[in-house]
């Protein structure tokens, strides 16, 4: 791996699910990333401020509790306004309410400006693979 990339990690909205967040932190750090973990119950602003302060390459948003769709609205715009248009925006967890058709969900979040959208049960390995592809263009994969 080339230079050390920075990832802002957090759980958006009023969401308290902490386990996945702690594990992602652990695994991404172990994989050689510089992880800035803003933890659970983080508003959009906290993600953006952290990304500015740390000159981050990726913002990884988790949403587990079902309000992800409401919580993520307008986030891309705010990023652009803050000059973070090039920062990659990932989202994962259980990002909508209920068990829905994945392609519809993906479409909606894609339209909101997210670069990568992950279904429930995504492994850390999968995330790492994509991060490497997107950040180091080692093996560019289609989204």
């Amino acid at each position: 791996m080339q230079d050390k990339k920075t990832i802002v990690l957090g759980v958006i909205g009023s969401d308290c699910h902490a386990v996945g967040n702690k594990i992602l932190d652990h695994a991404l750090t172990e994989a050689g990333f510089n992880v800035v973990n803003i933890g659970v119950m983080s508003p959009q602003e906290d993600f953006i401020n952290a990304a500015i302060e740390t000159d981050a390459d990726v913002i990884m948003v988790s949403s587990l509790y079902g309000h992800g769709e409401i919580d993520c609205r307008g986030m891309k715009n705010k990023c652009v306004e803050a000059g973070l248009e090039d920062v990659l925006l990932y989202v994962g967890g259980n990002i909508v309410v209920g068990k829905q058709e994945w392609k519809d969900v993906k479409y909606r979040f894609s339209a909101m400006g997210f670069d990568r959208i992950y279904p429930p049960g995504t492994t850390v390995e999968r995330a790492l693979e994509d991060l490497r592809a997107d950040l180091y263009k080692e093996h560019k994969a289609a989204v």
Binding site: G13, S14, D15, C16, H17, A18, V19, K22, I23, H26, G39, V40, M41, Y65, G66, H67, E69, I70, N94, V96, V97, G98, K99, Q100, P120, G121
Partner: protein
Amino acid sequence: MKLKNRKTSEGEFFKLREEVLSQWETGKEVDLKEAVDYLKKVPDHMNFAKKLKKAKDEGVTLAQPRAGVGLLDKHIELMNYLSKEGGADLLPSTIDSYTRQNRYKECEIGIEDSIREGRSLLNGFPAVNHGVRGCRQVFENVDKPLQARHGTPDSRLLSEIIHASGWTSNEGGGISYNIPYAKNVSVEKTLYDWQYCDRLAGFYEEQGIEINREPFGPLTGTLVPPSTSNSVGIIEALLAAEQGVKSITLGYGQGGNLIQDVAAVKVLEEQAEEYLKKYGYKDCFVTTVFHQWMGGFPEDEAKAFGVISIGSMTAALAGATKVIVKTPHEAHGIPSKEANASGIRTTKMTLSMYEGQKMPISKELEEEMSVIRKETECIISKVIDVGKGDIAQGTVKAIENGIIDIPFGPSIFNLGKMMPARDNQGAIRYLVPGNLPFTKDILDYNRKKLEERGKYEKRDVNFKMTIDDIYAVSRGKLIGRK
């Protein structure tokens, strides 16, 4: 606000009420006198406390789902579906996450969006926004007792509204609805706010109306050692009893080792009753609730049915008074009503196959009970100690110092030094005890059990085990073997 474990006087209580009821416009719908009259007319079969007592007396285990959607008519439809098609014995109403944060404005938006998009964008029922009018409409259109299930640090207004609407049970507590559910809310504040909720239940009790209270047993649902959750449950029971609560249901989340799970439920009931008696709360009626597996679920529905059944069976064998039901959609998202009902039917089938069958006492079961009993004693007596006899003040300090330390708790007030892992039989043990006030015997026992596993798997006993254990069930195993 000066937190103390003593019954809030009626004067204080009524003063606080004014402020509470003004937190959102629906607060003014609550008229305590009228509510008492309303509740007095609730028939026995619609009263949560009474139905639990009857079940305990008859030795049966009741099944209760979790469920809630944003819109009133859809929520009523859901409740009836779960009662009729699922065969639920007790009904919930799971409250949405904005209400849990007292963000009622966002609920309003969620409700409006849900109406517009024709699907629930809220992850639960926003009871405060629907007010007494809405909540009574739910109550009057269902055929089983109702309980609010949430995760709200400050649920004073919510409690006012639901009880006034005929909902005769409320889940939560000052520790259990803070550490797993909140980030920045001080323990002192939550304990204080839950004293209010308990006082409200106590007030109704004084009027002859039985209201059930249920501390949230599973906490973070993730590798919580039984003595940690049992201690929290017993402390919250003592705090509730002081405020006049009489019907208390203590919860435990399935760990996965059958003997440990049965032991945990049995000791929980036994020690709760002992402590309540010891501290002078003589007429409390304690029941137990067993939560089917609360950690990450397998995505495959067939496997999820296996996990659901194994929880039901354990609940039955442990003699729990009720079981909280998961669904085959658990790993994916809020379940459809059909998936929810199928989870209940699987549960009920399992429960009724084992009706009347209990796990017999064995050397192994006794040993496990004795370990949990001793660990719990260590924790609770230390809590009382640091509180200089006041268990409310002691709790605040205990959490600060890690005497109570909840694994993976998101709260900044949780020390987070303790780490659990499974032993070679899958029982949950203290891997890193942090500041838990255990005797050398207990620490050695926990270590020995974990070393057994390390030896079997030829691996070091460390945090990697914990991580592997967290993923294990969703990947089809109990123990995250190397």
